[in-house]
Symmetry: none
Subunit: 134 residues, 4 copies
Amino acid sequence: MRFKLNFKSGKPVYLQVVDQVKVAAASGSIQAGEPLPSIRPLAEELRVNRNTVAKAYAELESQGVIETVAGKGSFVSANNSPLKKAVRLELLAQEIDTAVIQAHHLQVGKAEFLRLAEDRFDAFQDKRDRAATS
Amino acid sequence: MRFKLNFKSGKPVYLQVVDQVKVAAASGSIQAGEPLPSIRPLAEELRVNRNTVAKAYAELESQGVIETVAGKGSFVSANNSPLKKAVRLELLAQEIDTAVIQAHHLQVGKAEFLRLAEDRFDAFQDKRDRAATS
Amino acid sequence: MRFKLNFKSGKPVYLQVVDQVKVAAASGSIQAGEPLPSIRPLAEELRVNRNTVAKAYAELESQGVIETVAGKGSFVSANNSPLKKAVRLELLAQEIDTAVIQAHHLQVGKAEFLRLAEDRFDAFQDKRDRAATS
Amino acid sequence: MRFKLNFKSGKPVYLQVVDQVKVAAASGSIQAGEPLPSIRPLAEELRVNRNTVAKAYAELESQGVIETVAGKGSFVSANNSPLKKAVRLELLAQEIDTAVIQAHHLQVGKAEFLRLAEDRFDAFQDKRDRAATS
DNA sequence: GTGGTCTAGACCACC
DNA sequence: GTGGTCTAGACCACG
């Protein structure tokens, strides 16, 4: 699990962590019963206070996504079946919508928008492939 | 100028207004010298306290994006040349990248991603057209 | 309402505030509908951070003792009938018990204990009377 | 030595142990050179982690109240003369004062207060006697 | 080492 | 002015 924070977005850091864990659990890239990173190391990696991560984990536990045992760690809950495809696409659609709106504000047309989308997707794949090879 | 607020994003509302005005001015969809909506009607339209809009306008003025004339209103400053196309695409690419990453986490492939992007773009256009007609 | 904090007791400050408000409401010395001190001034008076008082008030609201309206203030809830005498004595008995235990540890006998109790009660009354006169 | 913990008071458990040992030593109910209970049995009796008791003993040793001999146990230090009576009463007066204040908040009068004090003192003695007999 | 709690400072939205 | 939220630092209990 790799976390990516955006400190400038204004979105609370702890919610960014919550979302990323949920997506990872939803997509199946973290399996049920698997441990999450411990609070302290993760906080250090993210350059964030311990409590910020703790708050994210507390929120995830209250949502039933993970289970946490004091002194042991936090683990993905069992009852989280990977999301159905329709739900996954719904989540993705929200992200795409914000890009569409931005395109409109910047007066970028459909053809150009789609070309850019393809370019960025390919660029992302390339980067991942190179990372996997190295 | 159409504003779209997201109360759940955690991003301060007044900054959302600031950003949208800046993008609109940068993209040329608001021309220099054009008036911005008055604070009270805009606050009402956005379902937000007047102080929040006032704060956004104050921030914009301090950044030199707009100029406020007491008793007249607020106007886009002259020295904001519309951004070059390359810069606009760069801004848009950032938004698309986050959608691409989300697609990867949700294990959505390229074909599906691009199809969804087209769908959402069309849906957005439809909605605008209907709004303009009514 | 006068608050008295003990920073050395180890008892969380916010809980001390909670208890004192509850006792005041229970004893009827704060009437239903009456406003509590605002968070900031109270925090300043107690030499404590705003959030500490806010946490106490939040706890009181979750317990139904007070009701708080953002931008207006906090008010004693209506349904808090003054405690029955038996309940009041029960609360007081707890405090006395800790003094009794202390007496035992310090090997102070019953006669001496009761004499001291009377002395301190009288001393307290005297102090209050003098304060009222001045 | 009988320990009594209050898990709800918010006061750190290890400090409660420290205080009670100090009071016992100060009042003379534990004599100099007398051994304290070993960490493990005491921790078990108090339903507390061994580290917590160990922390209390370490604190007591650093304060010079007890001395620990590896492999032998912990013993009350010699230089702790039992407190003079006046000092003991002073300590007790503090506890009684908090009960008096509570009585005032709960609008309990002097006669009732003193009667309750006597009741609780007797009840405590009874409980001790029964415990000693069993 | 693990997670949990209390206190604090800064910023936000609203009146 | 009002209360609400996010981030942080220090301390605690437990393994």
